[in-house]
Structures are given as structure tokens and as C-alpha cells.
Subunit: 361 residues, 2 copies
């Protein structure tokens, strides 16, 4: 069989062997319900507690500020919808960007149709949020700003600290949610220092299992749940805890690089990115869509005149798997994100995304 | 080490070896995102499609009537909340029973506080719904009736066919949701013949993985989603599909007994139940709380004067794991379900649940 090269890690990743082992152990040996009162249940509760602590420690926050969800999409929905349900009496104004993942974008559309006022902050051609515009948009009525840290198609990194400080300066009562799904474990973050109130992560983007994610909820942020029931996860996410998924996510986080300062961000991935960027730039027809200083694992480029999907299938015949953009919004009309950045329709329709793994094999 | 006996299968079950194998295969080999356009993504899409068909075939419904969720709690929430969001303009009246699982009961409480009129149908001492009372409760304003098929604490089986027909006769526009979590694979159901509109199932109650469930949505029932995003699962449940969980659930369903007629319901479990019931009845102090003709896998009994939790811990010291009631609402005030059936507080506080596995080792 030909060799296969998987370069679609922003869509999803392969589970690490340690992750699979943890999932299997929970399925076969530690399968009790953590809500059960017997000691077999306590073993499951311990797995839950340990994984929560691993994630909290990695993010530099407290265990009780982490709750588990079924994935990044649910984390984003719980954060955004949860704020509107809990603080709707304080104001009816929400702010987001035009290049958010569909799990935020589609929810904001729904909220708009329900009567919420939703404003979109301008972005430049690289997808960076216009801070001046953001300041102008924030009013006393603004209860939530939601911005993703790393864009899933372009790899654009938003200056989250600056955005957070800008929001809190203009309206200290406004909450700030960050979709960290593509940033978590890939670039530097500092939730203990930055005034971020909510931060979404997903298991399957970091070589953890699918069907599991988490939401950081800063102490003092009182969400209302999406799902009611047995009161698990501090009553914010009812349902028997997905212990195999939670155990696997914990293992995946243990294997993440330590990005404790902005400087020691993952050199390995950055080197890979630079190498591919240099190689691509040698091809005359290639136009790079990603900003120069983007996330280490995502490069977006176009071969104007060639449909992205055509190139994708040509490459898959060579055993190379890449994508035209977000797997969650594969579209023949080009990329919604690239369109929103003001790049040409031709570039949008021919866009290709290459995304790396953080595994060091 | 002492031998351990796990008799808490209504709380959760151990994954079957075939289930674990399917989960591992999806984590390690078929990890692509089913929304990806390349052929590696298509392999995941095929797993998704096959599992959906397995479940649909088992239930006797169409593949396109099954969507995957993160579990029974989410299925119940999506069904109930989804109807209120989609049909709220038709009426504001909902009916449920006082012995539903907390994933329905707590949601109905929330809906009531949001202004919905929620009525509770009477049940007898065995937990059976009073059909006359149900008929009286249904009005032109009733958009939904939600009743569980098998009670998770008592094992009470509701006459779903009769209830469904009663509802449709009184108000054909009313939807009927059945929480089938404790019934699926344990007792006879016939969704192709019974006028049931929505039916919830859970993976981890049938030796499948935790964190996965499904909802049957009869064609013509137009729910609104709880979670917005990439439009997966016919736009009713966005988020990257949990392929390992879905693959595992499919395998678990393949191993379920064929309960194609009411008569051939699982003889093995019924025999186990009868044996335990006979043995328990030989002990003078024991009072059986479950109805005589309950589900084959659940027996609830009391030893009046001895707190359920005390007995639970005494038994765990012998390596026997049982529960005092629902793991999702472990409470020291006794069982909400048993209280609702009108049994004494003493019986409620001393209640114990033994629940069997359907595995034939």
C-alpha cells in the first residue's frame, strides 16, 4: 500500500496510544458510574477528578473552573447561550467576529433571529480583529464578546490578552468568551492572568478522543445550562459523565507541549510550518492566505484558477489528505472565512488548508 | 482479591469486547472527520452510516429517523426542548409523569419556570400511568406528552402502545416522546407500529460506550436543535461526530437480544429476575417495591428500618455493588420515584435496586 500522509489535523487528529489505553481501561475496568455510591463508582470519580485537575493545571486555573462537555461545539454553545440565558436582563447586545467557527457563527445567527442584537467586529485581510472598531461596538448593553483565539482555516492568532483588556476597560460587566479549540496546546495562553471568562477546548483536536471537550468557566461567571438532568458538572452539564472520553482527554493534555511563556511556543511545529511555507513560496502560482505570524500548525494557500476540491482529490490520489477549509462547513462556494477577510472569490474557491500534528514520532 | 459482583447495570454497564474493539479501531485507524472531503473522511462516514442503520434496523425504523447525541440525557433534552421550540406557537401545554428520570423531570421544571404549563399524570403504587387521568389532561393546547417506557428505579413497564394511541385519539397533533433508555434492548418495542414520535436511547446502558446516545425522530417531526454549528446530524446536533462512540454503540446494538415479539422477550434475564425475586421473598423483612411484571433487569426492594445506603456499603464490603436508586439523583431523603408512587417514607429511605446485565457470559 502507498504511504499516506495525513495533513488535516485541524479537522481532527489520531488518538495517541496513551489516550487509547486510557479509554480502553475506562471501558473495561473502570466502567462504574461516578455518581454511584459504592467504591467502584468512586474509582470512576477519581478518574474524573484527575483529568479535571490535569486540564486545569495546564491552563493555570482551578479544577472547579473546568467542566466537561461533549466537545468544542457544545462548549461554545454552552458558553454563549449560557451567558444569554443568565444575563439577558442586564443587556441584549452581543459581539462576535465574521470569521468564527460555525459553532459560534450559527448560534449567533439563531440568537439574532430570537431578537438579540449581534454585532460583528471588522477584521483585516489576515483575519485580525480591529481593536478600534471593537471599542466602538461595546456599549453598556453588551453582555458578551466571543472571539476565537486561533482561526481554524487561516491559523490567524488574535491578541486575546489585548482584546480581553479592551473589553473590560470599556465595560467591566461584559463577559469574554474565547473559542480556544484550535489554540489549546498549540500556542501560548495565560488564563490566570488574562481577563478571559470562558474558554472552550476540544479533545479530538489534540490527539484526544472525539465526543469530549471542556469549558473553562471563571469563578463568578454564572451560566445557565443547555441540558438539564442529574446535576452532573456542577449542574451545568447533566448526563452520566463520559469517563472513557474524560480519561482520554486527560492523557492527551499530559502530552501537550509546555507553552508556559510566549517565547517557548512549540519550536517543532513552527519549524515545520516555516519549511512548508518556504517550499510553497517557491511555486510561482501559490498565494499564501494565512498571515505570516499565524499558528504553527495551520497554513492556508491558494492556487488561483484551480478549484480547491479538485486539488484536494488530486492530492488524495497521492495519499495526501488535506482540506479546502473547515470540515464543518465544506462548501463549494469557497470559504466563508476567506470571503470575510476580503480576499478574492477566486482565492477563496481555490483555498487549501494544510494542518500539522503536534506528535513527535 | 475477593470476587466482585456488579449488580448496578441500570446505572451503567461494562463495555462488551466487540464495543471496545470498535472504539479502538476508530481511535487508531479510522480517525478522520466524516465531514472531510477526502476518502479517509469517507471511511469515517461509512462507520457513521452503518451504525445508524444497525440502530434503525433494530428499532424497525428508517436510518434517516435516527440521530446521534452525547447520551440519553441529551436525547431527552433535545426531544422535549426541541418540540417546545418548534411547536410553541401551537400550544403551551406539556404532560409528563412524576416518576420520570431527572433528565426529563428537571427539564420540565425549567420549562415550567419559563412559563410552560406542565401537568403530571397520576401513577399507581407500581408506577403505572393512569390512562383515564391522561385522557382528561390532554387538551387542544397539549403539544407534547413525555413518558418513560421502563422506570429506572422500579423497572415498571408502561403500556406505551396504549398510551400512544390514547394521546393520538384525544389530540392527533400532540407529539409523544418516550424515554426508552432503560427499555431499549430489554423489553419488546415496536416503533414502526406504535404512534411514538420520539424515542431516546443511551449507549452505556446496553454495554456500549458512555458519551453516546441516539434519538429516534419520526419523519414529519420537526425539532429545533439545542446545539448549533456545522450542521451535522441533519442540522439537529452539530459537532464533529463521535465516531468511536458511534461505532461502539453500533456493536452493542448488534449484540442485543432480538425482541421481535412481546413473547420472546429475554427469557434469560426474566429467569434471573424471577430467581432473585423468589429468594428475596423468602426473607421475611424484605418488601418488594417493583411491580410483579416489571422489566427483566431491575428489582427494587426495601428492608424497612435499615437505610438503603447502610446496606449498600455493607454489601460493597462483600464485593457486591448495587444502588439505592438512580445514580443520577442519589439522595439521602429517599427516592423521589418511590415517594411519587405513594409508598411510605420508610420504604423509600431503605430502598435498594439490583440491576442485571444482559451479557451471556
Amino acid at each position: 500500500m502507498e504511504k499516506e500522509i495525513y495533513l488535516d489535523n485541524a479537522a481532527t487528529t489520531k488518538a495517541l496510544p496513551e489516550v487509547t489505553a486510557a479509554v480502553v481501561d475506562a471501558l473495561e475496568n473502570n466502567y462504574a458510574n461516578p455518581s454511584s455510591l459504592h467504591r467502584f463508582g468512586l474509582k470512576s470519580e477519581k478518574i474524573l477528578k484527575n483529568s479535571r485537575k490535569t486540564i486545569a493545571d495546564y491552563l493555570g486555573v482551578r479544577s472547579e473552573e473546568i467542566i466537561f462537555t461533549s466537545g468544542g461545539t457544545e462548549s461554545n454553545n454552552l458558553a454563549i447561550r449560557g451567558i444569554t440565558k443568565a444575563y439577558g436582563n442586564r443587556g441584549r447586545h452581543l459581539i462576535t467576529s465574521p470569521i468564527e467557527h460555525s459553532s459560534a457563527a450559527e448560534l449567533f445567527k439563531a440568537l439574532e433571529s430570537e431578537g438579540w442584537q449581534v454585532d460583528s467586529v471588522n477584521v483585516d485581510r489576515g483575519g485580525h480583529v480591529d481593536l478600534e472598531h471593537l471599542i466602538n461596538l461595546i456599549t453598556e448593553e453588551t453582555i458578551l464578546v466571543s472571539i476565537m483565539q486561533v482561526n481554524n482555516e487561516l491559523g490567524t492568532i488574535q491578541p486575546i490578552k489585548k482584546i480581553a483588556e479592551t473589553i473590560k476597560e470599556k465595560n467591566p460587566l461584559s463577559f469574554f468568551h474565547v473559542d480556544g479549540v484550535q489554540a489549546f496546546g498549540k500556542i501560548y495562553s495565560n488564563l490566570s492572568q488574562w481577563p478571559v471568562d470562558l474558554y472552550s477546548i476540544s479533545g479530538h483536536k489534540i490527539h484526544g478522543p472525539k465526543g469530549i471537550g471542556a469549558l473553562y468557566i471563571k469563578k463568578g461567571t454564572n451560566l445557565k445550562p443547555l441540558v438539564y438532568g442529574g446535576g452532573q458538572e456542577r449542574n451545568l452539564r447533566s448526563g452520566t459523565e463520559n469517563i472513557p472520553g474524560i480519561a482520554g482527554l486527560g492523557e492527551a493534555v499530559k502530552k501537550l507541549p509546555q507553552l508556559s511563556t510566549a517565547e517557548n511556543a512549540d519550536q517543532y511545529l513552527a519549524k515545520k510550518r516555516k519549511y512548508l511555507l518556504n517550499s510553497l513560496q517557491k511555486i510561482e502560482e501559490v498565494v499564501i492566505n494565512s498571515p505570516a505570524a499565524g499558528a504553527p500548525h495551520i497554513i492556508n494557500f491558494s492556487l488561483p484558477g484551480i478549484k480547491g476540491e479538485t486539488m484536494l482529490h488530486a492530492l488524495e490520489n497521492q495519499g495526501i489528505y488535506i482540506s479546502t477549509g473547515s470540515a464543518c462547513s465544506s462548501s463549494k462556494k469557497g470559504s466563508r472565512i476567506i470571503n470575510a477577510c476580503g480576499l478574492s472569490q477566486q482565492r477563496s474557491e481555490s483555498a487549501l488548508r494544510v494542518s500539522f500534528s503536534l506528535c513527535r514520532k
